[in-house]
């Protein structure tokens, strides 16, 4: 039976956790911005920040995950990557979140499956906006590679998210 004070404590806890998550996600974005992985194909990256988004999605809820992601993308865009890259991140991030929310709602997938789908969806979203920006549908030649790298990084991030999530103190969120 949550009383008024309990409710307030809960909301404060969740707000604090969200702020912490947003800051952490921003740091991950920074790490990725200064450590570019160059494999000759644009858009390939680890997606470290997705670690945070997945944990937020499971431990807080969709709304929190959405705003943490939004804050992270906007700040990272203004601070490290530039406004155009922010546009790509925003499209990729939102499509990815949409897919992850949907898969999580079905309750048939583990965190790893959700993360994998999110990784692929993120790459798809970025490719979509990139081919729109250069008005060149040929950009989709990168699609197969981005599917494979999305799967790989998604699984990796999903496993790490699962391991971390089990070790996080529950009192952070409730």
């Amino acid at each position: 039976m949550p009383s008024l004070t309990n409710n307030h404590t809960l909301r404060t806890r969740r707000l604090t956790a969200s702020a912490m998550f947003a800051a952490l996600a921003l740091i991950f974005s920074y790490i990725e911005a200064i450590l570019p992985i160059n494999v000759g194909v644009p858009g390939v990256k680890l997606g470290l920040a997705n670690l945070i988004i997945i944990i937020a999605l499971y431990e807080l809820d969709t709304r929190y995950a959405f705003f943490i992601n939004l804050v992270r993308i906007c700040l990272a865009g203004l601070m490290f990557t530039g406004v155009m890259a922010m546009l790509y991140s925003l499209t990729g991030g939102m499509i990815s979140l949409l897919v992850m929310v949907f898969l999580k709602k079905t309750d048939r997938f583990s965190m790893i499956g959700v993360s994998m789908a999110g990784g692929v969806a993120h790459n798809f979203g970025q490719l979509l906006i990139a081919s729109f920006v250069v008005s060149n549908i040929k950009m989709f030649l990168y699609f197969p590679i981005l599917v494979f790298t999305g799967i790989a990084s998604g699984i990796g991030i999903g496993i790490v998210a699962y391991v971390i999530d089990r070790r996080l103190p529950r009192m952070l969120f409730r």
Binding site: A85, K138, I151, I155
Partner: protein, 128 residues
């Protein structure tokens, strides 16, 4: 720890891999060496250059530049004033439909085949 993986995860993985392989197969199918490289700015053709003539071309637009070289039937971005330099690190391209895209400058290079295209195969790109 691997008992967390559910059946739906495996199915999803197989489905995604299938999509990846399908698209790879589709893109490898048209795997022929091209005759021209087409430079585009904002999706509009800037110029078309024969791959059989070794040369250096600089695409200038809106105060930005992308310098690419054509050498031994391949095209490669040599220098650009874009921020991320992804296009410069891209491997040389030579097969039809391969492309190098410089997103910050909105410039793309694309390998095309001269046959049946509007500019035809007779004209030398140097006249441009």
């Amino acid at each position: 720890m691997f008992n967390v993986i559910k059946k739906a995860d495996i199915l999803l993985l197989i489905a995604l891999l299938a999509v990846g392989f399908l698209f790879s197969w589709l893109s490898i199918r048209g795997n022929v060496t091209g005759t021209y490289v087409e430079a585009k700015v904002n999706g509009k053709v800037y110029g078309r250059y024969s791959l059989s003539v070794n040369r250096t071309v600089t695409v200038r637009q809106n105060g930005h530049f992308n310098k690419f070289i054509i050498k031994n039937g391949t095209a490669q971005m040599e220098e650009a004033d874009c921020k991320n330099q992804i296009c410069v690190h891209h491997k040389p391209i030579s097969r039809v439909n391969e492309s190098i895209v410089c997103l910050p400058n909105r410039v793309s290079l694309e390998i095309v085949n001269g046959n049946g295209s509007k500019e035809g195969g007779k004209y030398d790109a140097i006249a441009h």
